[in-house]
C-alpha cells in the first residue's frame, strides 16, 4: 500500500521530521481557502500514488488565492497515468538552497535494509544512478546491530553533506529508519529533502510504501487508505483474498500459481492478443473461489473472452473440473470461456467439462491462448 504524499507527511510530522505548512483540498474553493490561510506563494500538488506527476502537469506554483483556485480546478480535473486526481495538497512555497535525496528501502540482493543519500536530489534516484552514480552514498544495515552512528557518518562523508546540514540530516535519517522498521515500510523516501534559505531542512515530498504482508499490524494506516489509491476491481479482489491485477487488454485470465498466470499473459501476447488482467486462484479450485474469480473478471467491461488455465497437482484435474462446473452454475457468463486443464487426471477433468456448452476446451497451453484471442477478436474456433 502506497501512502499519498500528504499521508506520508502526516506520518513524518508525527515522528518529528520537519515538513512545511499545508492543507489538503478536494474542491477549487477549498484550494482558495487553503491558499488564503497560508498566505503568499503556495504550491498546489496532485495527490496520486504514482511518480511523474510534476512532468504530467500535476504540480503548480502560484501567487495568491485566485491563481491557486484556478490551478486547483485544472489539477483536480486531471487523470495522471490512469489515476484520477481527487485531492490536492496546498503547501507553502519554499526558497530552496540545496536538495538531497534520502531513501530507506529493502535491498533484495543483500537481504537487508539499505539507506541511500545523494546531494543530487530533486530528480528520480534512477536518473541520478544513471547520470551521476558517484553522487550516491549507500549504507547496508546488518540487522543484528541496526543503524549506527558510523553508518550515518559514512553517508554524510560519502554524500558530501556540508557540516551545517549534518545534524538535521542525521536526525531525519534516524527517524526514517525507525519509521521503516516500526511501520513495516518497504520504502521511506524523501525527495527532495531540502535545505531552505533560512538554514532549516524540510521534507518537500514523501513516499511511504507499507508491506502488504504487514497490514494486519498497521491497521491505523490501512484504515486511512483512500479509494483512489487502488483500482476498484483490485480492491474488490483483495477483499475476497484473490491476487488480481487490472491490465489494459481484453482477454480475461484465471489460473493457479503466479508463475503460470504470468506465463499465460505472455502466451496471450505471443498469440497476438492483450490480457485484461492477472488473476491467481492459488491451490485447489473450490467452486466458491472460481465463482468469485469469474465474477471479478467478468465485471471488467473490456473483457471479451476468458481463459481459465489450471494445472491439477495435489488438487487433481477431475476435482478442478467439478469446481469449475459448480461455479458456472451460479455465474452469468456473457463471453466465451476457454478452459485448459493439465496435470494429474486432466483427461478425466476434460471429460467432465465436455458436456458443458459454455466451455470451450483446449488441449495445450498454446491452443488455449490462440482460441481465447481469436474469440475475443470476434472470430470462431
Amino acid at each position: 500500500m502506497k501512502l499519498l504524499e500528504y499521508q506520508a507527511k502526516e506520518l513524518f510530522a508525527a515522528e518529528g521530521i520537519p515538513t512545511l505548512k499545508g492543507q489538503v483540498a478536494e474542491t477549487p474553493d477549498a484550494v482558495r481557502a487553503a491558499a488564503e490561510a497560508l498566505g503568499g506563494r503556495v504550491v498546489v500538488k496532485a495527490q496520486v500514488p504514482i511518480g511523474g506527476r510534476g512532468k504530467a502537469g500535476g504540480i503548480a506554483v502560484v501567487n495568491g488565492p485566485d491563481e491557486a483556485a484556478k490551478e486547483g480546478e485544472r489539477i483536480l480535473n486531471m487523470t495522471i497515468h490512469g489515476y484520477p486526481v481527487h485531492r490536492v495538497l496546498v503547501e507553502q512555497a519554499a526558497d530552496i538552497a540545496a536538495e538531497y535525496y534520502l531513501g530507506v528501502t529493502v535491498d533484495r540482493a543483500s537481504q537487508a535494509i539499505v539507506i541511500i543519500l545523494s546531494a543530487a536530489g530533486g530528480v528520480d534516484i534512477e536518473e541520478i544512478a544513471a547520470t551521476q552514480p558517484e553522487k550516491i552514498a549507500k549504507a547496508t544495515i546488518d540487522a543484528s546491530i541496526g543503524l549506527r552512528d558510523f553508518h550515518i557518518r559514512g553517508l554524510m562523508a560519502q554524500g558530501g553533506v556540508p557540516a551545517e546540514h549534518v545534524r538535521a540530516m542525521t536526525q531525519i535519517i534516524r527517524t526514517m529508519y525507525r519509521i521503516a522498521k516500526e511501520r513495516d515500510a518497504m520504502l521511506v523516501e524523501i525527495n527532495p529533502c531540502a535545505a531552505l534559505a533560512d538554514g532549516s531542512i524540510v521534507a518537500l515530498d514523501g513516499k511511504v510504501e507499507i508491506d502488504e504482508n504487514a497490514h494486519y499490524r498497521q491497521t491505523d494506516l490501512v484504515e486511512k487508505q483512500v479509494p483512489e489509491a487502488e483500482h476498484p476491481l483490485e480492491r474488490e479482489a483483495a477483499e475476497k483474498g484473490l491476487a488480481y491485477v487490472k491490465l489494459d487488454g481484453y482477454v480475461g485470465i484465471i489460473g493457479n500459481g503466479a508463475g503460470l498466470v504470468m506465463t499465460t499473459l505472455d502466451m496471450i501476447e505471443r498469440s497476438g492478443g492483450k490480457p485484461a488482467n492477472f488473476l491467481d486462484i492459488g491451490g485447489g479450485a473450490k467452486a466458491e473461489v472460481v465463482r468469485n474469480a469469474l465474477n471479478i473478471v467478468l465485471a471488467d467491461p473490456d473483457v471479451k473472452s476468458v481463459l481459465i488455465n489450471v494445472f491439477g497437482g495435489i488438487t487433481r484435474g477431475d476435482e478442478v473440473a467439478k469446481g469449475l462446473l459448480a461455479a458456472f452454475e451460479e455465474v452469468d457468463v456473457r463471453v466465451p470461456v476457454v478452459v485448459r486443464l493439465a496435470g494429474t487426471r486432466a483427461e478425466e477433468g476434460r471429460q467432465l467439462l465436455a458436456g458443458h456448452d459454455a466451455l470451450i476446451p483446449a488441449a495445450t497451453f498454446q491452443e488455449a491462448a490462440e482460441k481465447a484471442v481469436a474469440l475475443a477478436q470476434g472470430g470462431n474456433v
Binding site: 540482493a109 537481504q111 508491506d211 504482508n213 503466479a258 508463475g259 504470468m262 496471450i268 491467481d280 496435470g343
Partner: protein, 288 residues
C-alpha cells in the same frame, strides 16, 4: 542423495497440528519421506499421523535427530519458527508459508546465513528428490528419478515443466522451488552451485521471473559451469510497478525486467525458451 534432500533426510514438521501441516505430513509420509517429529507449541505429547509432537524444535531435535525442518506456521509467527529451527541447529529449513512481513524475513534470513543454515523459501512449494524424499507441497506423482536438476521461483510452472519432462520419459535429480518472495534464503546461484557438484545431475532447468536481479547474478556463475542450463523467464509482458501475484514479482523502475534477465542468460550461453513446451524440447535435444 541428489541435492539437499534424500535418503538421509530426517524431517521435522513445524506447525504439524494445523490443517495444512497435517494434510501435507500425510502426503509426504505416503511418498516415503522419513518424518521423525512435529512441533506445535503447547501440543507436545500428541501424535499426528503417528508422528510424535514436541513443544519446541530443540526438544524435537534432541529426541529424534531431525536434520531438516519444514514450516507450515501462519505468516505472523513463521519468521520466529525459522529462527527457532536455526537456533536448534537444524541443517536445512524449508519455509512454505506465504505472506511473512518483509522486515521479519530480513531478520530471519540474515540469522540463518550467519548460522550457516540453509533456508529455502519462504513462499515456496519446497523440494523433492524423486522416489527418495518429498519435503514440500509438490504433487509427488508427477516426478520420476533422472538427470534433470530443476530450480524455480514458481511452483505451478515447475509442475508444468516436470509433467512435460516425465511424459517424455525424462526424470529429475532434485527439483527445488526457491519461492516467490523478495527476501528468500536460497537463491538461484546457491542451487546452481549444488547441481554443478552433484553427480546425479546432468542438465539444469532454471525458471525465473520478473523482479530482483537473482537471474542476472546466476548468469555470471553459469558462465563458469560445466553442465548445460536451459532457462525460462515468466512475466515478459508484465507492466512495471505491479506485483504479479508473487510479492517478489515486480519491476521497480528499470530493475527486474524480463528483458534484462533474458539478455544476461543469453550472454551466458543459456538458451532461454519461449514456452513451456520449448523447455522440454530443449532439454530432450541436449540429453540426446
Amino acid at each position: 542423495m541428489s541435492i539437499l534432500v534424500g535418503k538421509e533426510t530426517r524431517l521435522l514438521v513445524q506447525g504439524i497440528t494445523g490443517r495444512e501441516g497435517t494434510f501435507h505430513t500425510q502426503l509426504m509420509k505416503q511418498y516415503g519421506t522419513p518424518i521423525v517429529a512435529g512441533v506445535t507449541p503447547g501440543k507436545g505429547g500428541q501424535q499426528v499421523e503417528g508422528v510424535p509432537v514436541f513443544d519446541t524444535v530443540k526438544a524435537a531435535v534432541a529426541e529424534t535427530g531431525a536434520n531438516t525442518s519444514i514450516i507450515f506456521v501462519p505468516p505472523a509467527f513463521a519468521a520466529d519458527a525459522i529462527m527457532e529451527a536455526v537456533d536448534a541447529g537444524v541443517e536445512l529449513v524449508v519455509c512454505i508459508t506465504e505472506g511473512i512481513p518483509i522486515h521479519d524475513m530480513i531478520d530471519a534470513a540474515q540469522y540463518a546465513k550467519r548460522a550457516g543454515t540453509t533456508l529455502i523459501g519462504p513462499n515456496c512449494p519446497g523440494l523433492i528428490t524423486p522416489e527418495q524424499a518429498l519435503v514440500g507441497i509438490l504433487p509427488g506423482q508427477i516426478f520420476k528419478p533422472g538427470p534433470v536438476g530443476l530450480v524455480s521461483r514458481s511452483g505451478t510452472l515447475t509442475y508444468e515443466v516436470v509433467n512435460g519432462l516425465t511424459e517424455e520419459g525424462i526424470g529429475q535429480s532434485t527439483c527445488v522451488g526457491i519461492g516467490g518472495d523478495p527476501i528468500i534464503g536460497t537463491r538461484f546461484l546457491d542451487v546452481l552451485r549444488r547441481f554443478e557438484d552433484d553427480p546425479e545431475t546432468e542438465i539444469v532447468v532454471m525458471i525465473g521471473e520478473i523482479g530482483g536481479t537473482d537471474e542476472e547474478e546466476a548468469a555470471e556463475f553459469i558462465k563458469t559451469m560445466q553442465k548445460p542450463v536451459v532457462g525460462f523467464i515468466s512475466g515478459r509482458t508484465a507492466p512495471p510497478g505491479k506485483r504479479m501475484g508473487h510479492a517478489g514479482a515486480i519491476i521497480s523502475g528499470s530493475m527486474g525486467t524480463a528483458e534484462s534477465k533474458v539478455k544476461a542468460l543469453t550472454a551466458a550461453g543459456v538458451p532461454v525458451a519461449d514456452t513451456i513446451q520449448d523447455i522440454v524440447a530443449e532439454v530432450k535435444r541436449r540429453l540426446a
